[in-house]
C-alpha cells in the first residue's frame, strides 16, 4: 500500500509544481518586463505589488464567454488547448529535482521521453490553427509547423551530445555523471538547446507564429476565455520545462558549490529561475526575427553547431577514456 501512496504523493507534488511554477513565472514576467521598461507593472490586485494579478486574470478568463466560430471544426477546436497543455505536465513527471530519488517517475530513456512529449504539445497549436477556420490562424499553424521541423533537430542533437558525455539517456543518470568542467565542454550544445527550445515554445525573438502585428495572434486568434488562458498557461509551463531541462542537462541540476546533499533541490530551482529570467529578458530586449531569418538560423547555424558539439564530445570522450 505504501508503494501506491508513494506514487500518489509524487504525482500530487508534480501537479502542484505544474500549477504553481507557471503562475510564478507569469507574475515575474509582468514585473520584470515592467521594470525593464521603466514602469511598475500590476500594483493593485492582492495589495502587495499586485501579487494576485494572475489570479484576477484567471477569474476574468473564467467569466468570459467561450466562443466557437460557426465555421470551425468544433471538436478539434475544443480539444486543442488540452493537447497543447497536457504534454508539459507529463514532461514535468520525468525531470529530476534533487539527488537520490527526487523525481516524479524514473524513466530509463528520459531524454527521449521529454523531447518526444514536448513535440506533441505543438500538435495542439496545429490543431488550433487548422480548426479555427481563420486565415490568420492557418498562417500561424503553418509557421508553427515549419518552426518545429526546423528546431526539433538541433535540440535533439544537442541533447544527444550530453547523453554521449554521460553515457546514459536517463535524466537522473546524466546529472549524477556531471562534473563542473562539463559546462565549458558542453557550452555550445547548451546554447543550441536553449535557443531551439525557445523557438519550439514560440517565445520572442522566435514568436513568428503568434506575431501580433502581422497575423493577430496566429493559431490562437479565435480563442476566448478559459481555452485561451490554457494556451497562455501552456506557454509558461513550457518555459518551466525548458529551463528545468537545460538545468538538468547542461548546468548540473542539483550540483552546486556547497550544500549539494540536503539542499540540492534548491540549486535546481535557482538555476531554473535564473534561466526563466533570461527567457523574459530576451523577450524584452530582442526584436522578432523574420520567418526566413528564423529558418536560416536553424539550418545554417544551429544544426552545424550542434553537429560540431557532438564531434567535440566524441573526441573528448575517447581521449579521457
Amino acid at each position: 500500500m505504501s508503494d501506491t501512496l508513494d506514487v500518489v504523493l509524487r504525482l500530487l507534488a508534480v501537479f502542484v509544481v505544474f500549477l504553481v511554477l507557471p503562475l510564478v513565472i507569469g507574475q515575474t514576467e509582468h514585473k520584470v518586463m515592467a521594470h525593464m521598461q521603466g514602469r511598475l507593472g500590476p500594483m493593485y490586485a492582492g495589495g502587495f505589488h499586485g501579487w494576485a494579478q494572475l489570479v484576477a486574470d484567471g477569474v476574468k478568463f473564467a467569466q468570459k464567454e467561450d466562443i466557437v466560430p460557426a465555421g470551425a471544426d468544433r471538436r478539434i477546436f475544443q480539444m486543442a488547448p488540452a493537447v497543447a497543455l497536457l504534454p508539459y505536465l507529463l514532461v514535468l513527471v520525468a525531470i529530476p529535482i534533487g539527488p537520490g530519488n527526487a523525481v516524479g517517475q524514473f524513466l530509463d530513456a528520459g531524454i527521449f521521453f521529454v523531447l518526444a512529449v514536448m513535440g506533441i504539445g505543438v500538435l495542439g497549436s496545429l490543431m488550433a490553427g487548422w480548426a479555427s477556420a481563420n486565415k490568420f490562424s492557418l498562417l500561424g499553424g503553418l509557421r508553427t509547423a515549419a518552426q518545429l521541423m526546423a528546431y526539433e533537430l538541433p535540440m535533439l542533437l544537442a541533447a544527444a551530445s550530453v547523453a554521449m558525455a554521460a553515457g546514459t539517456v536517463s535524466l537522473p543518470g546524466i546529472v549524477d555523471a556531471f562534473h563542473w568542467w562539463w559546462v565549458p565542454w558542453q557550452i555550445v550544445g547548451a546554447l543550441v538547446f536553449f535557443t531551439a527550445g525557445l523557438a519550439e515554445l514560440q517565445r520572442p525573438p522566435f514568436d513568428m507564429p503568434v506575431a501580433d502585428s502581422e497575423i493577430i495572434f496566429g493559431a490562437y486568434t479565435e480563442y476566448t476565455g478559459l481555452r485561451f488562458a490554457l494556451f497562455l498557461l501552456s506557454e509558461y509551463a513550457g518555459i518551466v520545462v525548458l529551463c528545468g531541462l537545460t538545468t538538468v542537462l547542461f548546468l548540473g541540476g542539483w550540483h552546486g558549490p556547497f550544500g549539494a546533499d540536503g539542499l540540492g533541490w534548491l540549486w535546481t530551482l535557482l538555476k531554473t529561475a535564473v534561466l526563466a529570467f533570461v527567457v523574459i529578458w530576451l523577450r524584452v530586449t530582442y526584436p522578432r526575427l523574420r520567418e526566413d531569418q528564423l529558418q536560416k538560423l536553424a539550418w545554417t547555424a544551429l544544426i552545424p553547431l550542434a553537429l560540431a558539439q557532438i564531434a567535440l564530445t566524441g573526441v573528448v570522450k575517447v581521449v579521457i577514456q
Binding site: G71, D108, G119, L123, T168
Partner: protein, 196 residues
C-alpha cells in the same frame, strides 16, 4: 494466431499464473484501439481528421512497445512519428485546400485493390512474426529486456552492418532530395526571363 496461444501456455507454465495476465489483456485492448484508429484513418473523408487519427494509431503502437518493456523504442516512435512525421503531414495538408468537414471527392476507384494489398500484407506479417516468435516470450516480471542499453548493444554488436547500410541508404535519399529540389543556374535565369 497460434503464436499467442503458445505464448500464453508457456508463460503460464513458466510462472504458474492464470493466463492471460493483466498486461496481456491491456495489450490486446490497446491493439484493438490502434487497429480501430488505423481503420478510421484510411476510411474517414475528413483529411485533417485522418492525420489526427494517425496520431492515435501511432501512439497506440508506442504504448504496445511500452507494454513489451521496450521503453527506448516507444519514445523514439513518439518522437519520430508523432512529433515529426505527423507534423510534416499536417504542414502539407495546411498548404493544400483541405476543407473543414468532408471532402466529397476524397474517394478513389482503387479501394478494392488497396484493401486486397493491405489484407495480404497484414496476413503475411502476422504469419511470419507468429511463426518466427511462437516459442519466444518476454518475462515481464524480471528486469526490463528492452532497455536502451540492451537495444544499443544488440544494434551495434549484432546488427552493425544492416544499421550502417540503412544509414547510407538514408544519406543517399537525403542527397537525392537536395539535388532534386535545387534549381540550376540556367533554370533560374529562364524563370526570371519568363517572369518578365
Amino acid at each position: 494466431m497460434t503464436g499467442t496461444g503458445t505464448h500464453d501456455v508457456l508463460a503460464a507454465q513458466a510462472h504458474g499464473f492464470l493466463s492471460p495476465t493483466g498486461v496481456e489483456i491491456v495489450f490486446l485492448l490497446v491493439g484493438v484501439v490502434t487497429l480501430g484508429a488505423a481503420i478510421v484513418t484510411v476510411t474517414t473523408r475528413q483529411l485533417v481528421h485522418a492525420a489526427l487519427w494517425l496520431v492515435v494509431a501511432l501512439g497506440g503502437i508506442a504504448v504496445e512497445y511500452l507494454l513489451l518493456t521496450a521503453e527506448f523504442i516507444a519514445w523514439v516512435q513518439v518522437l519520430i512519428y508523432v512529433g515529426s512525421v505527423v507534423v510534416l503531414l499536417l504542414f502539407g495538408l495546411m498548404l493544400t485546400k483541405a476543407p473543414i468537414g468532408r471532402s466529397p471527392d476524397a474517394d478513389s476507384a482503387n479501394r478494392p485493390a488497396a484493401l486486397a494489398v493491405a489484407v495480404a500484407a497484414a496476413a503475411a506479417l502476422v504469419w511470419v512474426v507468429a511463426d518466427a516468435f511462437r516459442t519466444t516470450w518476454i518475462d515481464l516480471r524480471g528486469a526490463p529486456q528492452g532497455t536502451t542499453k540492451v537495444s544499443g548493444e544488440i544494434l551495434f554488436r549484432h546488427w552493425v552492418l544492416p544499421f550502417e547500410a540503412l544509414s547510407v541508404l538514408l544519406l543517399a535519399a537525403l542527397v537525392g532530395a537536395i539535388v532534386l529540389s535545387r534549381r540550376t543556374e540556367r533554370e533560374n535565369t529562364e524563370r526570371k526571363n519568363g517572369a518578365r
